[in-house]
């Protein structure tokens, strides 16, 4: 948004200027529409109810948004390539269970008849590695075995959920506080702690968002992600390593899901195998609301963050207003569809002005 320049009618602008982005006022409003909608929504709920703007509710809201936004960041990478990742909700559940199991039971090495307990940092790394591994499996299925992303990740959705249930026979790992004598205390700190008054999960969202914005905008990998989504054949002929890049996007998505799995089990101080059920759809909703095209090649991380806030504010506001959960679903669905319709209209306007 830094470079706004009103369209000039001068032709043959000097070369020094040609890389400046030009936006008309109308174009700017359309670009910022999700953000404007967010502000309107926020003001609307704030006027409606005092309970909405209380500090405690704001923190609750932000924590909800953070979870969806982090999943949405990973999902954005995948969707930009023209893929989809349905497995993220299950990865959230699985990585939470991995962390819970490592805290409670340790790593059981049956043949050696030994049990190893790790400290929480290593536990977190192992859980993240598991998430990335599932992502890698998705990536391999999609690129090497050419399974359609929808099917591949639907398969891993079931598999990861099954593993999560299997890990403790469908039961919860409660009370993840660890034991001082095993040296694995401190796990709840991630969900409980704050920095400058904000919970860690919000800082994690901000940090990951900044990194992701940087990656999409400023690295060859990011450009290549867009290129693959836009025209995979042209990308290949330009020397883009399509398979590697595509595979990496699924690994990123698995990474983000693992982070969410850790945050949630830490917040609850327990890991439940059903955690994350349906999260993939919320994440996709945030991505789509943020203006990313499911066909790939078009969209931004910032849009996804705004989209996650729209979903979060809408849901939180409706809960506060006592809207029945049935109506909440209907309204959320309506908003998603409406956002895509507006997106289509914008595309048409852009194409017309480009022609």
């Amino acid at each position: 948004m830094a470079e706004v320049k009103v369209q000039s009618t001068l032709e043959g602008s000097p070369l020094g200027q040609i890389t400046k982005r030009r936006l008309t006022l109308r174009g700017l409003l359309l670009q910022l529409r999700a953000f404007i909608a967010l502000i309107l929504l926020y003001v609307f709920f704030a006027l409606l109810s005092n309970a909405f703007v209380t500090q405690s509710n704001q923190v609750i809201l932000a924590k909800q948004v953070a979870i969806n936004a982090v999943l949405g960041i990973g999902m954005t990478f995948v969707i930009l390539t023209g893929g989809i990742d349905l497995s993220v909700g299950s990865i959230v559940g699985l990585t939470g269970m991995v962390a819970g199991m490592l805290i409670h039971k340790g790593l059981i090495l049956t043949p050696l008849d030994r049990v190893i307990y790790f400290n929480v940092w290593i536990i977190a790394l192992i859980a993240i590695a598991v998430g990335m591994l599932v992502g890698l499996l998705n990536g391999i299925l999609v690129t090497r075995f050419r399974v359609a992303p929808f099917i591949a990740t639907l398969g891993t959705l079931y598999m990861a959920r099954g593993l999560a249930l299997l890990s403790n026979n469908g039961a919860t790992f409660p009370n993840l506080i660890g034991k001082p004598e095993l040296g694995n205390t401190g796990f709840p700190e991630l969900g409980r702690g704050t920095l400058l008054g904000l919970p860690y999960s919000i800082w994690i969202m901000i940090g990951l968002a900044l990194i992701a914005i940087f990656i999409t905008g400023k690295t060859p990998f990011g450009r290549q992600v867009y290129a693959i989504g836009g025209n995979v054949r042209a990308a290949q002929l330009s020397g883009v390593r399509v398979k590697t890049v595509t595979m990496l996007t699924y690994v990123i998505s698995g990474f983000c899901a693992a982070i969410v799995g850790l945050i949630i089990s830490s917040q609850l101080v327990a890991s439940h195998p059903a955690t994350g059920d349906g999260f993939e759809l919320n994440a996709i909703a945030a991505v789509v609301l943020g203006g990313t095209s499911l066909a790939g090649g078009r969209g931004t991380i910032l849009g996804t963050i705004v989209g996650a806030f729209v979903v979060g504010v809408l849901r939180n506001g409706m809960v506060i207003e006592g809207v029945s959960s049935f109506w909440q679903m209907i309204i959320t669905g309506g908003v998603i569809v409406l956002a895509v319709i507006i997106d289509q209209v914008q595309q048409r306007i852009q194409e017309r002005s480009a022609a």
């Binding site: 070369l15 890389t19 690295t219 042209a234 990308a235 002929l237 330009s238 020397g239 002005s353 022609a355």
Partner: protein, 526 residues
């Protein structure tokens, strides 16, 4: 600089106008695509429309075909004003169009494509596949193409797909048929067939509107010519009264007699050696049958051949795109190996045949498209440096004279010629030693073509090796230092610039095709 003696602008004719566009304008935000254009379509004649890219030809045709509506002005069909709101409405009025870009369904068969939305049905509900295939077979026989009606479009070469497009339009049995660059992917033999079909159509009273960039071709085919430039009608004349310089002068608005200058550069050391490239064909036989040749630094090597000769496949093998291919390629004494990204780093790069489908990423800006293949060069630490990117963009925009008001605009906002220059720029930014250009002038206007040729000459003069494929004889003969003729996956002839004649090229390109011709004429009789 010479103005023609007679001004043929005042057309004296007794031919009957079937369709007339009167004072048609089309305004887009920011641009006027058509500015009060009058256009006459004469009954049973071939009405040629020419102009450089961006002159408004395609817009005018889209208006006639109901794809777009004019901002001002009207259309008069046989004395009645019409306002087609959709291609369907235009078809019902008897106006059909063959688009420049292929509009086929790759996952459906030839017959299904031809009868898409006009299916022959039994009882209005069930598709009568037998009838459709029979009609398709007849249409393809008329076009002398022995393609099975059941073949899926995705298995056809671009040229064959274009023939299917033509068959599709013929199936509609329209009164007026618009052909927007129907020959851009056709070989000489196929163009001849098309010309015969056009003769048949006009003899039976169908009026043709014909758009092409191949000027000699349309001078042969056309009865009337209308020239557009910058959205305005510049001239209209019976074809018999005009000549090539007249057309070019009105199209371009400047003297282009200096075109097709013979290239002169020293031919140096061997740069590329291709040994025994073999690519098996799906279902037996070879797409490339033991192809070997060499390329010297500073040389422009032309490859000529009909459709299916294996030209595109050869390029793809050099780039490592066919895992099934056998044979060795040596670049500067080093063997080319691995996937395409490794080969690009070694100094070979391809400009693909189909710009829209293989060259460009429509969602990305001009700048992003241009930089895509060489992103590594603009890194500062882990991130892309804006300054380095801009330096590269500015250099190429200047060197290739790319006309772009803002490189952050979408690539689709540029004209075909400028899009092609962006593809060339993308290629050059990888610092190649060998450049493979597959039909580099397909679908771009005369002015842009010359600029592309100029670029090729300059690159060769800098010591690059350039291999280019073209279906235009004149192009090949004017540009290439040496010509390889291919037919059915085999190099049938190698000719030096001095010994190359049109006849020699055509003869060499037909080797192995005799059977196809016999088949075609046999079916065509029935």
């Amino acid at each position: 600089m010479s103005a023609p003696a007679a001004t043929p602008e005042q057309v004296r004719t007794f031919d009957d106008v079937i369709l007339r566009a009167e004072q048609v304008s089309k305004v887009y935000p920011g641009t006027v695509a058509l500015d009060k254009v009058d256009f006459n379509v004469y009954r049973g004649k071939v009405n040629v429309l020419v102009g450089e890219n961006g002159a408004g030809k395609s817009t005018l045709m889209k208006i006639l075909a109901g794809v777009q509506q004019p901002t001002e002005g009207h259309l008069i069909l046989e004395g009645e004003p019409i306002q087609p709101k959709s291609p369907r409405e235009a078809e019902e009025m008897g106006i059909g169009i063959i688009y420049q870009e292929l509009n086929l369904f790759p996952n459906l068969s030839v017959a299904e494509n031809i009868f898409m939305a006009h299916e022959l049905t039994a009882g209005g509900a069930v598709i009568h596949h037998g009838q459709q295939e029979e009609r398709t077979r007849a249409l393809l026989a008329r076009l002398e193409q022995p393609i099975s009606p059941k073949t899926l479009i995705q298995y056809l070469r671009i040229g064959q797909q274009q023939i299917v497009e033509i068959a599709k339009a013929l199936a509609l049995e329209v009164k007026i048929l618009i052909m927007d660059e129907p020959t851009s992917a056709l070989s000489t033999a196929e163009v001849e067939v098309l010309v015969r079909v056009i003769d048949e159509l006009t003899a039976s009273g169908v009026s043709i509107i014909y758009i092409s960039h191949k000027l000699e071709e349309l001078m042969q085919i056309g009865d009337y010519i209308t020239v557009l430039r910058d959205g305005r009608k510049i001239a209209e004349a019976p074809m018999a009264e005009v000549d090539l310089p007249w057309i070019i002068e009105r199209m371009v608005g400047r003297d282009t007699a200096a075109s097709y200058r013979p290239p002169q550069h020293a031919v140096e050391r061997e740069l590329l050696r291709v040994e025994d490239i073999t690519l098996p064909k799906y279902g037996g036989g070879f797409l490339l049958d033991h192809v070997s040749f060499t390329l010297r630094a500073g040389e422009v090597l032309g490859i000529y051949g009909l459709m299916g000769a294996g030209r595109t496949e050869l390029f793809e093998c050099l780039m490592g795109l066919h895992p099934m291919a056998r044979g060795d390629v040596w670049l500067g004494g080093k063997k080319l190996e691995g996937q395409i990204d490794k080969r690009i780093k070694q100094g070979i790069m391809l400009i693909p045949e189909d710009r829209q489908r293989e060259g460009l990423i429509p969602e990305l800006s001009v700048a992003d498209n241009m930089l895509l293949a060489s992103l590594r060069n603009y890194l500062r630490g882990p991130y892309l440096s804006r300054a380095k990117e801009e330096a590269a963009i500015n250099r190429l925009v200047r060197e290739l004279a790319i006309k772009v008001s803002n490189v952050q605009n979408l690539i689709s906002s540029l004209s075909g010629g400028n899009q092609q220059k962006v593809v060339v720029a993308k290629t050059l930014l990888t610092s190649p030693q060998v450049l493979l250009m597959d039909e580099p002038t397909r679908g771009i206007d005369v002015g842009a073509k010359e600029e592309i040729f100029d670029i090729m000459r300059k690159l060769a003069a800098q010591g690059l090796g350039v291999i280019f494929v073209s279906t235009e004889l004149k192009e090949i003969m004017a540009m290439a230092d040496r010509i390889l003729v291919m037919s059915k996956g085999v190099i049938t002839r190698e000719l030096n610039r001095a010994e190359a004649t049109q006849q020699a090229l055509v003869e060499a390109s037909a080797i192995g095709h005799e059977l196809v011709r016999k088949d075609g004429s046999g079916n065509g009789g029935g």
